[in-house]
């Protein structure tokens, strides 16, 4: 019997639970020759902001033990260029497309979403099937702490976004908080259809020879296998705090890693840094999940979390 790999996020059906994480796959065309994106469940685009951003000064990346730091700085062409230059290509996608939205103020998030809504229209092949809200942007009004750290603000922002679209909204959580369950609940209360976790952990590497941080920005975001245990723990907690689906990510390199997330309570997963290490990583993850379900006689993805014995 072929397992049923479909996953439903706010009424949107994904063909399978494996997606490509924001910022690690561009807008879908860069890995074209290597990865059959349309065979996957979803593509989460690089963040889109209101104005174009050239990104942070360089160096922007550095390797760490079993991980990497990045401070790309939301480099993106801005919402208008996104609509003109990227959306048409995304309309051709057969997998679900979640546009990752970021901003430094609440208004910016809303404006980006509104413009994309207006451009995409309501028909099929809109180029956008849903939104992933990146809350890890430093929040100018809150003294630089990221948006994703204040529950009340997340609830308000999510609700305001909710009022502006009927497409599914996924709120992406940062792990750099004291109480991820509380943050997840705030997103749910605001009307999110799902949450995804985790974004990167704040980290720093210092070049001892040059006596300065390797990254031009000082600190950056830690991703890769090093953070997988943190991601699985966040997912476990968040999925027990909310009724909406949780999408798990952080350090997934293999189907075994993805199954850790699914058993921890996730309904879907994303592969980020893993794609850098092996461009076919996400396809391997998908194949392995299906094989495991077959071997274990598990019929549907959403049956997996209940298999965990605690």
């Amino acid at each position: 019997m072929k397992p049923d790999l479909r996953v439903s996020i706010g009424g949107l059906e994904l063909a399978n639970p494996v997606g490509l994480a924001s910022g690690t796959f561009g807008y879908g065309s860069e890995y074209e020759e290597l990865v059959d994106v349309d065979a996957l469940g979803a593509l989460y685009t690089k963040a889109v902001t209101l104005a174009p951003r050239t990104g942070n000064p360089v160096p922007r990346i550095v390797e760490t033990p079993s991980g990497m730091l990045n401070s790309i700085g939301l480099a993106n062409p801005g919402v208008e260029a996104f609509i003109a230059g990227k959306l048409p290509g995304l309309r051709g996608r057969r997998c679900a497309v979640f546009v990752n939205v970021a901003g430094a103020t609440e208004e910016e998030y809303l404006e980006v979403l509104e413009r994309i809504e207006a451009a995409a229209g309501t028909g099929p092949r809109a180029g956008v099937d849903g939104y992933e809200i990146n809350l890890s942007c430093p929040n100018v009004k809150h003294g630089g702490l990221a948006f994703g750290t204040d529950a009340a603000q997340i609830e308000r922002l999510t609700r305001a976004l909710r009022d502006r679209t009927r497409r599914p909204i996924v709120v992406k959580l940062t792990p750099n908080v004291t109480d991820i369950a509380g943050i997840a609940k705030a997103a749910e209360a605001g009307g999110a259809d799902a949450i995804s976790c985790i974004n990167t952990l704040v980290g720093m590497v210092i070049d001892v020879g040059k006596r300065r941080p390797v990254l031009a920005m000082g600190s950056g975001g830690l991703s890769g296998p090093a953070i997988r245990p943190v991601g699985v723990a966040c997912c476990y907690r968040a999925s027990r705090a909310v009724g909406i689906p949780v999408i798990g990510l952080g350090g997934i390199m293999s189907s075994g890693d993805a199954l850790q997330y699914l058993l921890a309570g996730a309904r879907a997963v994303q592969v980020g840094t893993g794609t850098f290490v092996d461009p076919r990583c996400a396809m391997g993850v998908l194949g392995g999940i299906e094989e495991w379900m077959r071997a274990q006689g598990v019929e549907r993805i959403q049956d997996i979390p209940a298999l965990l014995e605690v």
């Binding site: 690690t24 990346i61 033990p65 480099a75 290490v277 092996d278």
Partner: protein, 240 residues
Amino acid sequence: MAVTAAGEPLPGQFLTLRVSPFSDPLLRRPFAFSSYRRASVGRGARAGIVYQLRGGATRLLAELAPGSRVDILAPLGNSFPPPAEGETPILAGGGIGLGPLLFLAAALSEAGGPIAPRLVLGVRSASLLPSIPLPPGAVVCTDDGSSGFRGTPVDWIAANAPEGRVRLYGCGPAPMLVALAALAAARGWGASLSAEQWMACGVGACMGCALPRADGSGYLRACSDGPVFEASEIDWAGGR
């Protein structure tokens, strides 16, 4: 298992490889092609890289037994443009910058342009000279004078460049690229420089390998907009 994109590499292009099945070292490492020979009857295609021991990945690479399989992604990036009509090609390599220039020198010789390419290689000291044959007419420079010309390839070129139009092809450490770009600008030469920058994806998706544009208007990606750029495009001193 080798994950290989289709196509034959051109001089300037690179590959990325993964040398460990473990997660440390994690990221693929970029290396420029130093040679390529097409497959022919009874003989597979063969590509070469020249590398230097630096850290973990290159150590693992050096420990590989001959015949080992490695996971390679290639060819990536753009390639060196040919010299324009009447341009004398001078190839300046610093340290591990040698690899792509060897490939370029071979390709230029094979193409048989009117003017033979001249390779100028700089290393700190004679002991660091690579143990591979250099093309005919190659000039060796050492910082300490322990072999060949005492000074850098840039010094040598500044002193020995032929009259007329020159196209510089450069690959090496950042200070060398800065100096090459300055020399080219001063003399009104064209210069195609291959950039080095830390890479995560190697295919243009992550924006990790950015290099600042010379005009301050933003960044270009070393991996997919380059690695070869016209010298005037990039702020070579701002890359690290």
